[in-house]
Amino acid sequence: MTLGSIVSLTAQCLASVMILQSLELIVLCLKKDFFSIWSFENLKEDLKFKFLFSNTSFRVTILLQLMTAIFALFYSDSFLFGFLFITHLLICMRFRGTFNGGSDMMTFVLLTGVFISLAGTTEKIQKLGLIYITIHTVYSYFKAGLAKVIRSEWRRGEALPIFLNRSVFPEIRKFSQWINKSHLLKMIFAWGVILFELIALTLPFFTDYTQVYFITAVIFHAIVFVSFGFNRFFWIWLCAWPCILYCLNLWYF
């Protein structure tokens, strides 16, 4: 695929994910309990520029994000993605930093990379945006693995059932108790996760295996979704993959 088509594909994937994110927030705003907790009254002491964060402003921000994301799906324009960066930031600030942790961070990474690529007037700058996304995504897998492998509880296989036991899904907690009974299973699952994450750093040297890693990554994110309900993680990490597949091939040219 050409550089232009990869930039467009990534931009369209990102716009689609931001449409889903906006719809999710709209559904939340329609629930009566939502503003009972995240009301402006509760949050106002933490927020500067208060007019941007009132309950009405929050609703307007989400609607603007939805409309901009729909436009961005059809018109890959840097201005639209710059605007999405601002709306996403306002939404995160309204939740005192993040609404959904790592998925919000990866959304910023993609917004930044796509913005650079679309705003770039030369091929080098356009590639720079894609490389920014690739480095962050590959590093996100590797760093997550590194943070695990240095901890003895992960190396001994004990950490995984503990984390699974904190899932919001009762059946996953039952599953964690089941794997906790077998030392072999615990070790297989824990080392499976660690190795999958650490191996990411070797992708630039073994580009023939990138597609195999990609399929494994889809399965990995699907398992994380089933275990913890992180649907936003699933989609936003997937959005980065066209860049990775393209950029890792650049390595040899």
């Binding site: 930093g97 901890r151 919001v168 309900g229």
Partner: protein
């Protein structure tokens, strides 16, 4: 302010350190018995695409963690406390308990050891 824009500066440590988990419990003026507040979720169709209920519950659990973090860092936790109180009120209302005085506490859980970390004042 930096804390509010922290998502712009990514870090990628997921599920690395086993720290305490936290449970939220409440009691009313009538029951006097501490009851655990559940954050359990049922699976929903299309939740891979749009998952508002689960993501709201995850954000609610973040409120508890944010409050504990503020508490441990001796930071001003007025906002965290307001959010937490509203969260408890919403959860208690979901159980059909309304118009009663409530008190809540945060229980720190590590393996099978449970400790009361914070006990609130009584709220109307």
């Amino acid at each position: 302010m930096i804390n509010l824009i922290r998502a712009v500066f990514p870090h990628w440590n997921f599920f690395d350190r086993i720290s305490h988990s936290f449970e939220l419990e409440f009691k009313t003026a009538i029951s006097h018995q501490w009851q655990r507040i559940s954050f359990d979720q049922k699976r929903e169709i299309f939740s891979l695409f749009i998952n508002p209920n689960c993501n709201m519950v995850l954000a609610q659990m973040n409120i508890i963690e944010h409050f504990v973090s503020d508490l441990q860092d001796s930071k001003d936790n007025k906002t965290s406390y307001k959010l937490l109180t509203s969260l408890v009120r919403v959860k208690v209302n979901e159980l059909g308990i309304k118009d009663q005085k409530i008190q809540f506490k945060i229980v720190s859980v590590m393996e099978n050891k449970m400790d009361d970390l914070f006990v609130s004042e009584i709220h109307l």
